[in-house]
């Protein structure tokens, strides 16, 4: 019946125009970058059913009459209405609009119209990810979203990126957000030691590497608890929802993207050259010798009567004597390389009545600046949606990836052959290569072994990087199948079965032919190999019912559903020592072998519901409720309930509101509770150790005893957040989003010391609390100067204040050690993981000062004067104070896009201000043992030490702490779209070439490689430490996009 009426209307409407003869209008729809928009809808304003879509060239033709209005619309763009005139050929430009008022925003378990949103959600569109030569999308959005702190804490290709949404919300639990890809929550454990192995490298590989950024349609960042509470016990750190691309347009569209690039070390660390070092070391060794027996020993004593520790290497002498032209190796220059990268993506997508498809292939090869390191990725994606009937839709997403990571052992200290610190410590007085071009190995070892001098015992880092094998191969499959059935007119049933399967295989081999400091080649003990395998099997089944009703001015949406998830991880290791040869490196050829195997499992059962109601698009309400039952929770607290409620008022829709200046204004308020379930597997149970062995008779019998402490009430950490904000649009061009939030996390997971009379020394408890309060402001502005000249600006700034409110019973603080002993403190009333230590107020200039001033032990002239903060006349551990924090006082990001005719330019920069980094490189680069930081030549530096035993330089103090405030230009992209006339001859719809620079400029006073560094990745207790971490690089890339 309805259909008949409909056809009638159509017939009537077309009659109107009958008198005049229809003309065929042809047109091209393009975006601001002159790229044709495929699949845009072109319809008559007054006859919406009369419509067409643009083809892959963005072209359409439609029959109409002058004076009629056509509306051109496409997802992600502002619609445009054009009056038809005499001109039969039209060129229509649509402006991209992420804030499109009718835009649909993906939220947890469904989607909502943006205008009806009541919570704090930020969208990042595909445009922000395009042309960025990054391995994973998180690297591309640093500084783009207010309140989202993204740090390139490690410069390795594919290395981890630290993301904190609205501050650090946990002390020992994880602080990373939950990632949801096409409705599937990714395993939160894929980057932990259990799945990546632990022994031979220090950084974990980013789990988001499995998702090719080119396949991403958009990213929603759910920030407040009203938005995240529907993810219950996993929502407390925020949720990042990733939606992948769908096909557009009836005709298949082929996209080809490629880039080539090079990257190099962004910045060098200032260390001594060979001459400076020789003088420094000779001086230090002399001081060391004399201080052993000041009455008898003299600087002039020959090396032969000194101990090995007080001798300097003989090859230092010519430098001290001023001989010119001697070996002066800049190890950073020798070591770091210009690394090459290439990336190719090809995708085909289309949309027909029965099916929508998008499929892509990608290949990425990004070398690291450390020799023999890099990442190679082969990825594919198939997204298909079938319309099986009017009632049933079926979708399938498949995303297989294979990643070959070539890892560098960068993050470790010198003793573990950490390459970055080793490069800096290597003596510039020795060459990197022999005359025949081979690596000059063992030079430092020989100096030690011969008894000549005790110097840094580090192998040639080039030999280590090139000869040691350290690979990680990852095979991953993310998949989901979703079925949608319309049960009634307004009632839909949706079921998703999905998951990810991952297999990781690592291989490490340290060859026989490479000496170790305690063993000359061919080695047997330090000839070592390891193979590590792990699997992840993560399966999810969600079922939900969605009821939508639009009656009168009422807009109601109700979702109710449940979810079951199960994840099993398994790993096994085999290690071998003393291989027969270096030719074969499989463990079977080793003499001493060791193996290990572990498994763990986690299950969750959840029920969730969301009700959202809007009246007249003016009064908006939303409430969510989720209950999570998790196997990780203790027996007595199996279920967590997480509610939220939010409301908003679109003042601009009120009659009294004059829309002249402000055309849209919405105020929002929300409250919600979310959890963090990142607690250890089986953490509530008392597990048994099999190490309770004892000899009875003459046999060693197995004994089992509880080794971990039980807690039947162990549960999630709870974060409750209030959020107040507003969204406004002015002059139709300036968008303002502002939020204030205050959140409190209670039930913090802490390993609390318990009286040993319990049989245990500590117990995992939900105890303690902390708060995060902050304010976020986002501005974006668009202006078209002329048709050819268009500008877009966006700016965001955010501030977060973190405060620890409560720790374990009677506990005031937790002191933690990073690379330096007791360098961090988490104290009630202060930010989590603050820097802690002595305050250096100068150095002792003369004996009088040493006698007069408070000092630490038997300090001498030239040592640091530490502030006697409690004025008790001596400096000791109780004089340590909080010295700073790694949490920025505020951060901001700024993005500029400018388009002039066929040229486009994008620049984005971001900044973090007023925070500190502890430069732990001082621990080793200060001892006149290896090379030293150049700052030790400075007037303010303490006297040279080696074997003096003063530890002056290496005690955690304000000396190692630096202000790390920075402004970084993250990327600059300049593109040019080739004229259509040129490319259409090649059957190409669009061809754009571009150059892109990543990290081209960083302004900072910080002296290390990277102000965003964090050696103890994701450890909230010991953040912001530089300790020989894979340096960040800057890259220059050339690329092109082609659309067929």
């Amino acid at each position: 019946m309805r259909k008949i009426l409909f056809y009638l209307c159509m017939a009537l409407l077309s009659c109107n125009a009958f008198g005049q003869s229809a003309i065929i209008f042809r047109g091209t729809v393009m975006n601001e970058s002159q790229i044709p928009i495929t699949g845009a809808t072109v319809s008559f304003r007054d006859i919406p059913t009369k419509n067409t879509t643009t083809d892959k060239a963005g072209q359409f033709s439609i029959e109409g009459l002058p004076g009629q209005f056509i509306v051109i619309s496409s997802v992600g763009y502002s619609s445009k209405t054009v009056e038809l005139g005499q001109q039969k050929s039209l060129s229509i430009h649509l402006a991209a609009d992420n804030k499109n008022i009718d835009e649909v925003v993906v939220v947890g378990y469904g989607s909502l119209k943006r205008k009806n949103l009541t919570s704090s959600i930020t969208t990042v569109g595909a445009a922000e990810l395009e042309d960025k030569p990054v391995v994973s999308f998180d690297q591309a959005i640093a500084g783009k979203v207010a309140g989202v702190n993204i740090s390139q804490s490690n410069g390795a290709p594919g290395g981890g990126v630290a993301i904190n949404i609205r501050g650090v919300g946990s002390i020992t639990g994880g602080t990373s957000p939950l990632y949801v890809v096409d409705g599937l929550p990714l395993s939160t454990n894929s980057s932990d030691r259990f799945n990546q192995g632990g022994n031979n490298f220090n950084y974990t590989v980013n789990p988001l590497n499995n998702i090719n950024p080119a396949d991403i349609l958009d990213i929603q960042i759910l920030k407040d608890a009203a938005a995240t509470a529907i993810y219950g016990s996993r929502g407390a750190n925020g949720v990042v929802i990733i939606t992948t691309k769908k096909g557009k347009g009836e005709q298949p569209t082929v996209n080809l993207n490629a880039y080539l690039g090079t990257s190099k070390l962004a910045k060098k660390v200032d260390v001594m050259d060979a001459y400076e070092l020789a003088n420094y070391m000779v001086n230090a060794r002399d001081i060391g010798w004399v201080s052993k027996d000041p009455l008898r020993n003299k600087v002039t004593d020959p090396l032969s009567i000194r101990t090995i520790d007080d001798r300097y290497p003989l090859f230092m002498l010519p430098y001290v004597q001023g001989e010119q032209g001697l070996v002066n190796t800049d190890w950073q220059d020798e070591f770091y390389r210009d690394a090459f990268s290439q990336n190719y993506d090809v995708s085909i997508g289309g949309n027909s009545e029965k099916a929508n498809y998008y499929t892509s292939l990608g290949y990425l090869n990004q070398q690291g600046i450390i020799p023999n390191s890099g990442i190679e990725r082969y990825s594919a994606r198939v997204n298909v949606d079938f319309k099986l009937s009017d009632y049933v839709k079926l979708g399938v997403n498949l995303n297989p990836t294979y990643i070959n990571n070539n890892l560098a052992r960068s993050e470790k200290n010198w003793g573990d052959e950490g390459l970055v610190i080793g490069v800096l410590m290597s003596l510039p007085n020795i060459p990197a290569y022999n005359e025949d071009g081979s690596f000059a190995v063992d030079k430092l070892y020989e100096t030690l072994w011969s008894g000549e001098s005790n110097v840094v015992q580090f192998q040639n880092p080039l030999a280590l990087a090139n000869m040691v094998q350290n690979r990680m191969n990852q095979y991953n499959m993310i998949f989901n199948t979703d079925l949608e059935i319309s049960l009634l007119k307004n009632l839909k049933f949706k079921s998703i079965v999905g998951g990810n399967f991952g297999y990781t295989n690592r291989k490490y081999y340290r060859p026989k032919s490479l000496s170790y400091r305690t063993e000359k080649a061919p080695t047997s003990y330090f000839n070592f190999g390891e193979v590590f395998n792990s699997t992840i099997s993560n399966i999810l089944w969600d079922n939900s019912l969605e009821y939508t009703a639009d009656f009168g001015k009422n807009d109601l949406n109700v979702v109710i559903g449940n979810s079951v998830q199960r994840e099993i991880n398994k790993n096994s290791t085999a290690e071998g020592r003393n291989f027969a040869t270096d030719n074969v490196t499989t463990i079977n050829t080793s003499q001493d072998r060791y193996s290990n195997e572990q498994m763990r499992e986690w299950k969750m059962l959840s029920y969730f519901s969301r009700v959202s109601y809007a009246y007249d698009s003016r009064y908006l309400f939303m409430a969510t409720l989720r209950a999570d039952g998790s196997s990780k929770f203790g027996k007595k607290s199996k279920w967590g309930v997480f509610p939220s409620a939010s409301a908003a008022w679109r003042i601009s829709e009120e009659d009294f509101f004059a829309k002249d200046l402000i055309n849209d204004l919405k105020v929002r308020a929300s409250y919600g509770v979310a959890g963090n379930n990142d607690i250890p597997y089986y953490g509530s149970m008392s597990l048994l150790s099999t190490n309770g062995k004892y000899t009875i008779g003459d046999n060693v019998l197995a004994g089992l005893y509880p080794s971990s402490s039980p807690n039947e009430e162990l549960s999630w950490e709870t974060t409750s957040t209030y959020n107040f904000g507003f969204d406004a649009q002015l002059w139709n061009s300036l968008t303002i989003n502002m939020d204030y939030y205050t959140s409190k996390t209670t039930d913090l997971l802490l390993n609390v010391p318990v009286p040993s009379s319990s049989g245990y020394t500590e117990s995992l408890q939900n105890i303690g609390s902390l708060s995060n309060k902050g304010i976020e402001l986002g501005l974006s502005y668009k202006h078209e100067f002329t048709e050819k000249s268009k500008l877009s600006l966006s700016f965001n700034i955010s501030k977060n204040i973190n405060e620890v409110l409560e720790l374990g019973p009677g506990q005031q603080q937790i002191i933690s050690s990073g690379g330096l002993t007791d360098s961090h403190i988490t104290r009630i009333g202060h930010a989590i993981g603050s820097f802690f230590g002595y305050k250096v107020i100068g150095k002792f200039q003369n004996e009088q000062e040493v006698a007069d001033l408070a000092k630490f032990g038997n300090q001498k002239v030239g040592d640091f004067i530490y502030q006697d903060t409690n004025n008790d006349g001596v400096v000791n551990a109780s004089d340590r104070v909080i010295l700073g924090s790694n949490l920025p006082k505020f951060e901001f990001g700024f993005n500029v896009g400018y388009q002039y005719t066929d040229f486009d330019l994008n620049v984005s920069l971001y900044s973090k201000q007023k925070f500190h980094v502890i430069n732990t490189m001082h621990r080793y680069l200060a001892e006149a043992w290896g090379n030293n930081l150049s700052v030790y030549l400075d007037e303010s530096a303490p006297r040279p030490v080696w074997a003096v035993g003063s530890a002056t330089h290496t005690r955690a103090s304000s000396w190692q702490l630096e202000d790390a405030s920075f402004v970084r230009v993250r990327d600059i992209t300049l593109g040019y779209r080739l004229p259509k006339s040129l490319v259409s001859r090649m059957k190409i719809n669009n061809l754009r070439v571009y150059v892109a620079m990543l990290n081209p400029f960083t302004w900072t006073n910080y002296s290390g490689y990277n102000p965003e560094v964090s050696s103890n990745f994701n450890s909230a207790l010991t953040p912001g430490e530089e300790f020989g971490n894979y340096p960040v690089s800057k890259s220059f890339n050339f690329g092109f996009n082609i659309t067929f």
């Binding site: 149970m685 062995k693 060693v700 089992l704 318990v754 040993s756």
Partner: protein, 465 residues
């Protein structure tokens, strides 16, 4: 269509909570263990292991020997180090070894408590069950006896801990109460345990071990009649006798009829050997000059100690000259042996009446075994002289067996011996030899600060610390 809706409804609203109960895949857990006889057996082995940890890595010798006049820690660090601070009475309340011993003791107690509570519901033949219960009671009592000798009052925990955080509320129980408890427990164990075992079970607690331990506790409480009663039970069992040769008794580490209860360490790939600090000179437990001088004519001295390359003397009782690949050695650390039972009885008899012929005879029996002359009452003209001589005997006979300090304290000799000798001056090369002024508060060790902190101050500190 209707069916589908029904299934959906069922699925959505059915409760399948058991879905989220999991069993650890790579570990046993308390909840699913302790179900079978074999599992209880393995839990009992863990109690022995717990007691073994008191010797190493918790350093029983720091308390039993190094604090006393017998031995010292040959440490070269400028301030002496945590071990040496036992020797020079410079104990900080946060000394790592204090907390280590306290923690290891209660870990062993917990393991015993688990056996006692969990075995009840398990089907085990009666005789076996009794034996296992007896073993757990004996071992728990042994640990508590060390605890009260070291700290005096300590928390008395007799039940399996299911909620560790609740121990924040625990305070120290009176030493007398603990002694009453362990005497009662040992008497139960005495009734439950067999006299001896077949070879495969050698080393488990026996009836004789409970009796010897009871004798030792009664000697501590000065209930001499009871000492005699329990010593006699051991003697009259006719299962034990003095080894014929003092030297080979230790040197061969053989299963000897003199041993009543020992802690076993077995070197090898199982990591069950006794670890030592240095191949050339184990400096953890070095004979003091006083011991060396005082007993230079006693043949037992040369069987007790041997010189190192750096002219110190290590304990031969512990350290075999043979060094194994895994840097550990085979050794049986003696807890109770027959010579001790004889001397305990002698001491009790002497205290009950002087002159006691039996007492003298017992002391001479022990002396004769090592080729020493028989003593006469003419040499020991009073009860006190007899007692003094007996203590000398005990010192050399049991040197390095972790008895000396406890003997000094229980007899009240500690203050005098440790003050007069002030071993500091004699060992100038050792930081361990820092001078000190002996105070009576040293008779008890400080309660570890970590424990006081963990209890939020509810555990009290001993006087003087």
């Amino acid at each position: 269509m209707k069916n589908i809706q029904l299934y959906i409804a069922l699925f959505l609203f059915s409760s399948c909570s058991s879905f989220i109960d999991v069993t650890p895949l790579s570990d046993n857990s308390v909840e699913n263990f302790y179900k079978t006889e074999q599992e209880i057996d393995q839990a009992v082995v863990a109690v022995y292991d717990g007691v073994q940890t008191l010797v190493r890595p918790a350093y029983l010798d720091l308390f039993g020997e190094i604090t006393s006049d017998n031995s010292y820690n040959f440490a070269t660090t400028p301030n002496g180090g945590a071990n040496a601070n036992f020797d020079n009475f410079n104990l900080a309340t946060n000394n790592t070894y204090l907390n280590r011993f306290w923690t290891a003791s209660y870990a062993a107690v917990q393991r015993a408590n688990i056996v006692l509570s969990r075995m009840e519901g398990v089907t085990i033949p009666e005789e076996k069950k009794n034996q296992r219960k007896g073993e757990a009671l004996f071992l728990r009592s042994l640990v508590y006896f060390y605890l009260v000798q070291i700290w005096g009052d300590v928390p008395l925990i007799l039940d399996e801990t299911k909620n560790p955080i609740s121990h924040i509320e625990k305070v120290r129980d009176k030493k007398a109460e603990i002694l009453t408890q362990i005497i009662a427990d040992l008497k139960i164990a005495e009734a439950l345990l067999p006299l001896s075992y077949a070879a495969a079970d050698q080393g488990r607690a026996t009836k004789g071990a409970t009796q010897a331990l009871l004798a030792r506790i009664y000697l501590h409480t000065k209930e001499y009649t009871n000492v005699v009663e329990y010593a006699d039970k051991v003697i009259h069992s006719n299962l034990y006798q003095l080894d014929t040769d003092y030297e080979t008794f230790f040197d061969t580490r053989k299963v000897s009829q003199e041993n009543i209860f020992v802690i076993n360490f077995k070197s090898g790939t199982n990591s069950e050997g006794y670890p030592f600090s240095n191949v050339n000179h184990d400096y953890d437990n070095t004979a003091s000059y006083d011991l060396m001088n005082y007993y230079k004519n006693d043949p037992r001295l040369n069987f007790n100690v041997a010189p190192t390359a750096i002219n110190t003397f290590y304990s031969k009782k512990i350290h075999n000259t043979l060094v194994n690949n895994d840097n550990t050695i085979n050794v049986r650390i003696i807890i109770l042996r027959y010579a001790d039972v004889l001397l305990m009885k002698a001491e009790a008899l002497n205290n009950l009446s002087y002159p006691a012929t039996d007492a003298l005879q017992l002391m001479n029996t022990v002396r004769k075994r090592s080729g020493l002359n028989e003593l006469m009452f003419t040499d020991l003209a009073s009860k006190e002289q007899f007692q003094d001589k007996l203590m000398d005997e005990r010192r050399i006979e049991f040197a390095f067996e972790n008895l000396r300090w406890f003997d000094l304290v229980r007899t009240g000799m500690a203050t005098q011996v440790m003050s007069v000798k002030n071993f500091g001056g004699q060992r100038e090369n050792s930081a361990s030899g820092l001078p000190y002024t002996f105070k009576d508060s040293f008779l008890l060790f400080p309660v570890p600060q970590a424990q006081i902190d963990a209890s939020a101050g509810r555990l009290s500190q001993n006087l003087g610390y």
